[in-house]
Every structure is written in structure tokens, then in C-alpha cells.
Symmetry: C2
Subunit: 418 residues, 2 copies
């Protein structure tokens, strides 16, 4: 069977299974997820056997220790996958929700009902826990899911998939509702991305390279974010202690993730006191600073920022810092160099908080809070399938609801159009 035929038949089976998934009750879906959680824990030895193969192959290919660590499935991580599934089981089911209903002058009752998207394809790299996490969210929202992980985790992903599929079978749900692509050829992704008749949405998770590859080759709608160049703007009226606390947290609490701050903008009226203060605090935490000329004049020994620093996603203990004339200049900087991910203003001015909220149209805009809260769990969505920095369908962290759409429902008594 050619790769194209193989992917087509896999996707067609998913589409057929999606019809069953859409009709499942919330109770059955929750039971399924809890059973899956128990099964993962019970199968820990089996999972770790498979995982060893991936780790051995990774060592052979010379993967960095950090990468090997991300790949490893110890008991704690298996327990975390199981807990994740149980947590999704406790979340409200978006399917069937009637989000609005109204009556037309002719008596027609019109409403909008939430339904699953259908078939969701997840293309991801590295961490095998994504296999269970993404499956849980897609299934709970009534979708079928096709999982295509990276070759470095193929044995682990297939083992997780096999355990989860057994639980579908036990509840008489078509197994094709959850499929892990077996081949590690990259061409398989290309074939999947052509199947617009069968697959409703593609979510790539991984590095910018993978995401661009998916976007450029997909005929199916893609929800993605390329990078997070998040800003904190310290307004003239900011409480300096609060500004320091938020800036430090946004930069150093976990620098390698997309909602960490990459550039700090400081109002010129507060720069003389705040820039030296935050520079000292950052340096204590081992953060390397790249400053604009004004900053360099205020702090001796600061590296001068280059033009390339402003749009850069460091994902590291490095921070670009710039003095701006006012709120509008901060907004203009964000507009030019930002990634529509997350921006925060630290201010005690009501007017400026309102103005920043109004003018900044990133997916998450904050007042007096750390950018690190830009996350589905932290914002209260319960769980996160990804984050979107393009505006269509979803914008910002995505939870269960983002894996659904709404159909119009119309109840009549024989009305016709005149």
C-alpha cells in the first residue's frame, strides 16, 4: 500500500469514527478517559519497555541530554499523563451547548448548538505525553484524532496509542477514533495535509520549522503560533516593587517557554530609577541584558541591543530592554516587533490600563500580572490543546471549546419563505 493510500484510508476511518464520537454522551466520554488513565498506570512496565527503545535510539543518534530527558517516561510522568486525562474528564463538555437562542417574527426558533469539529490531526515533536494529552482533549470534545508524533518518540507513542485504543474497544467505540501514525517518514505528514475532505483541523506543536512546514503544505485549516515575543511595559505610574516582581517572574520563572517575557519596555519618566533597579535584579538571577542607548547610559556594562534583538524570541536567560517616550510608543514597538502572543502593562493609572487594553490586540492582554499566566490552565480553560496567534477560529490559549464549532438549529411549525 502506498503512503498516500495508507493515509487516505486511515483518515477515512477517522471520519467514519467521528460520526460515532459526535453522538457519545458526556458520561461515556468521561468513563472512557478515566479508563484510559487507569490503563496507562497499569501498563507502566510495558510503556517503559517501549520508551527504552526510543531512549537507546536517541543516545545512538547523539540527542542532547535535555532532549533525552524530555523523551523519558518515568513513573511520575506516566502518573501525570493519567492525571491529565482524569482532569479533562472532570471538565464541562462543550458539545450540545446552546449558546444563544432567539425567536424570529415569523415564529421560527433559531439557536446555535455546539458540535465537534470532526477529525483533528495533531503533528508534534518529542514529548510522548502529548499523545495522551491531545487524545484526551480531542475525544472529550467529541472528535476523532490522528496523532503524528516525531520519529524520536515513535515506540513510546505507539505503545501509548495501543493502550488507549484498547479502552475504546472495551466501550464499543470505533478504534479509528484514535490513531497513531505508524510510519516515521516525513512524507506521511505531506499526505495527511492534503486530505481536506477527511480532516477538519491540523494543530502542529513543536519548533518553528515544523510549524512552517505544516502551514506551507496544508490544504486543511491550521491553528498555530510561530513564537512568543512577549512584552512587559512599565508605565510612568507603575509601582516599582510590583513592576520588578512581575518582570522577574515573566523572565526567569521559566525562560524557555513561549509566554516568558522577551522585551521589557520602560516609560522614560520612570527609567532613571527603574532601569538600574531591574537591571541589578535581573543580573542577580543570571539574566544577560541587551539595552537601548538610554538603558546603556543608565547601567554601566550593559550590552547594546541590535535591531535583531527586538523581534527575537530568546527562550533563554536573556532580555532586551528599551526606554520608550510614552504608552503610545510602547504600543507602536509591540505592534512592530510583537508576535500577537501576550503583553502586560504595569501601571497604577486607570486611564492607561484602559488605553493599553484597547490599543493592544494581542491574543492575551494583561494589566498588572505576569505574562506567565498566559496558558489555558492558568486562565481557567481547564486544559490546553495549544495556543493560537492567528485570529481565525481561536486566538490565544485553546481549551475544549476551541475543538468545537457551532451549527444553526431552527425549529419551525411549517414556515415557508414569502
Amino acid at each position: 500500500m502506498s503512503l498516500a493510500t495508507e493515509m487516505k484510508s486511515l483518515a477515512s476511518a477517522a471520519k467514519a469514527a467521528a460520526r460515532t464520537m459526535a453522538g457519545l454522551s458526556t458520561n461515556i466520554k468521561n468513563e472512557l478517559l478515566c479508563n484510559m488513565a487507569d490503563a496507562l498506570v497499569a501498563a507502566a512496565p510495558e510503556l517503559q519497555e517501549a520508551n527504552k527503545k526510543d531512549l537507546a535510539a536517541g543516545r545512538e543518534r547523539g540527542l542532547a541530554p535535555a532532549m533525552l530527558d524530555r523523551l523519558a517516561l518515568d513513573d511520575k510522568r506516566i502518573a501525570a499523563m493519567a492525571d491529565g486525562l482524569r482532569e479533562v474528564a472532570t471538565l464541562p463538555d462543550p458539545v450540545g451547548e446552546m449558546s444563544a437562542q432567539w425567536r424570529r417574527p415569523n415564529g421560527l426558533q433559531v439557536g446555535r448548538m455546539r458540535i465537534p469539529l470532526g477529525v483533528i490531526g495533531i503533528v508534534y515533536e518529542s514529548r510522548p505525553n502529548v499523545t495522551a494529552d491531545a487524545a484526551g482533549l480531542c475525544l472529550k470534545s467529541g472528535n476523532a484524532v490522528i496523532l503524528r508524533g516525531g520519529s524520536e518518540a515513535i515506540h513510546s507513542n505507539l505503545a501509548i496509542g495501543a493502550i488507549l485504543k484498547k479502552e475504546l474497544q472495551r466501550l464499543d467505540i470505533p478504534e479509528a477514533a484514535l490513531q497513531v501514525v505508524e510510519t516515521t517518514e516525513r512524507a506521511a505528514i505531506l499526505e495527511l495535509l492534503k486530505l481536506e475532505e477527511e480532516i477538519d483541523l491540523i494543530i502542529p506543536r513543536g519548533g518553528e520549522g515544523l510549524i512552517r512546514f505544516v502551514v506551507e503544505n496544508s490544504r486543511i485549516p491550521v491553528i498555530k503560533h510561530y513564537k512568543g515575543v512577549c512584552h512587559v511595559f512599565v508605565d510612568a505610574s507603575a509601582d516599582e516593587e510590583m513592576a520588578e516582581r512581575i518582570s522577574l517572574n515573566a523572565k526567569v520563572q521559566r525562560p524557555g517557554v513561549c509566554n516568558a517575557m522577551e522585551t521589557l519596555l520602560v516609560h522614560e519618566d520612570i527609567a532613571k530609577s527603574f532601569v538600574p533597579r531591574i537591571a541589578a535584579a535581573m543580573q542577580t538571577k543570571g539574566v544577560e541584558l541587551r539595552g537601548c542607548p538610554e538603558c546603556c547610559a543608565l547601567v554601566s556594562g550593559m550590552t547594546a541591543a541590535k535591531e535583531e534583538d527586538w523581534p527575537e524570541e530568546y527562550l533563554d536567560l536573556r532580555l532586551a530592554i528599551k526606554v520608550v517616550a510614552d504608552l503610545d510608543a510602547a504600543v507602536a514597538h509591540i505592534d512592530r516587533f510583537g508576535s500577537l502572543h501576550t503583553e502586560t502593562i504595569v501601571t497604577s493609572s486607570y486611564a492607561n490600563s484602559q488605553r493599553f487594553m484597547q490599543l493592544v490586540n494581542s491574543s492575551v492582554v494583561m494589566v498588572n500580572a505576569s505574562t506567565r499566566f498566559s496558558d489555558g490552565n492558568q486562565l481557567g480553560l481547564g486544559a490546553e490543546i495549544g495556543i493560537s496567534t492567528t485570529k481565525l477560529h481561536s486566538f490565544g490559549p485553546m481549551g475544549l471549546e476551541d475543538l468545537t464549532t457551532r451549527k444553526f438549529v431552527v425549529f419551525g411549525e411549517g414556515q415557508i419563505r414569502e
Copy 2:
């Protein structure tokens, strides 16, 4: 200036103007739309002068009389364009709406605020009124708009655009918020479709050929529908008089549009009495029937349907008709041949109405009402920018809200992540 440079500079100007548009108050936007309406009526002679050039060119190119009629801008049509703008001015402004707000355990107040998409590109054919209609909806929802109509209406479209732009100028709104592409080269569309950094959404309106061309060449998200193969299913328990009324209305009230019925499905328990009845009624209205073998056995002289008839969008006084074993068979037929547009069940059974609603995941699902109500105005959206039969972002008729997205807003008091 090359075409690529020209389109890029036009789109960049639109992006800059979108920033101003996003901040305009509802009052100013409404004033703008009403001024535009008055200006169109006042400029009727000028518009008709331009329209004459298109009509003359059309006649020269041998356009069919129906096409020439669609192109013509008489006083009535100009008044209708103006009324359309005034009506959009009366609709609620979706921008700024806080659709949900909740408090997190740490005190963070999280909400989702509706914001404009940014820059919307409309690629359309023929009718020049789309220029004013689409501009009104895009501007009211706080977006900038790039309009690219067909070459056959270029003089009319440019004249309408010029009049509308003057009204932007009079209210000190950047003119680039509304731009009509001047060149009629098709390559201009290709250049626009590449500009994913500047344009947020493309809506193609026209024939299937145009839509497929846009989808295949766009790097920007596209919202579209290819065709409407709408079904009416007459259940065993249907009131036959109601079923006849709805079927006739769905087929003949305006057969050339996407929400007209193309296939009638009849439950076998009611077929013996209903198929001859509806066949006679349809034939009286001049509808040509293509039936399954069971139908042909019930009505003498009915043409036998071929396999190609079931997925066909006739857009004409022609109807495919099929007897099905039960509701599930009807759903399976819709699933296989439908276009996710609009389907109706005629029934007096509560259980079957619920089951049909549950199993059919088209964008509009109806009970006891004509498919012809599947339209933004008829369903109460106020005005319609198009209809989507793909599930991402919008599904079904699209109003002002579909031209917006939601950002997360977070109000804190200095919270950091532990």
C-alpha cells in the same frame, strides 16, 4: 511599480488603517455608514455613468442578458445599496463586547473581549452592490477592507469605492480603510493571497471556479462555501400538507440560490401517497423530476436519477427525489452527498426531530421549516457577509460577529506565577 509591490503597498496601508478602525466608536462608525448611504444616492447620475461603461463593455463581450441585468445599477438598486448601509448602521456593534468574564483562585479577573479581525479581503464577481454591502459590514465591525471585484464591473466598483472613500476622508478616517483594487489582472488576486502578514481573512464570493482558485492559492485563511446541496427529508409521520408546502417553497421560490432544495428524501412508509402528490405539485410548477427506482414506479414518466444526480447542485427547476428506508438512511444519504449547507426534516415525531438535529451536522439544521430561511437576514443576524460550510471560525450564515475575534483580557493586582 510591479503588481506585487502595488498589492503589498495597498495591503500595508490597509493594515495601518485597521489600527484606527479598531479604535473607532460605534457612533462614528454608524455616522460613517449613514453618510455613505446618503452619498451613494446623491451620486446616482455619476454611478450610472460609470455603470454604462461596464454595460457597454459587457454587451460587446457578448454577456448573457441575465448577466447584464445583474450588472445594471438602476435607481432602485442604488437605493437598495444605501438602505443596506443604513440597516447595518442600526445593528449592534460586536466590537468591545465582553462575552465572558471569570475570577481565578488567585484573584486574576479573566475575560474575553471581541475585537476586529484586522484587514479583510473580499474577492467577488459580477454584482457591483457587493462593493457597498461588504464595505459596510467590514467597516462596521471595525476592520479595514480590500475589495477586488470582477473586471466586468470594474468601472461601477471603482465609482462606488470613490464615493465611499470621500466619506472616510470627511470624518478623518484613513482612506486606506477601504480600497478597491484598480487593476483587473487576475494576477493581482494571486499577489493579494500571499500577503499573510497584512491580510487576516479572505472571503471569496462567486462561482465554484473562483472559490477553488482562491482556496488553492491562498496562504491567508479563507472562509467559503463551494455549493449548497440542500435536502428536505419527509418523515413517515410528516403532515403531508406541510411537507408539500415546505418542499415546494424550498425548491421553487428561488431555485437559483444556494439554500434552495436539490434533493427530496421521502420515508418509504409515506412514499405511496406523498411521492405522487409532490410530483404532481412540482410538475405544475414546471419542476423536472429525477427519481430513484421506487419513485419512478410510483409516478409514470419520471426520469430515472443517475448516480451523478445525488451530489448535484442544479440551481434550477430540477429536483432529485429518493425513497429511503428510514431516518438513518436519510442521514446516511445526506452524509454522503450533502454539502454541509442546510437540511430540513418534516416530521410530527418529537423523537425523530431530536434525532435528526443530533445526527445531522450541517451548518444549518431545521425542523418543519423551508431551507430558504438559511440566510443571515432570515435567521436574524441582521445582514450577511457570506456563508461558511467549513467548520473553522464560522459555520453557516455569517454576520458582523463573524468578522471579529476575541482576545483574552486579564486584570491583576501584581500577581506572579509560583
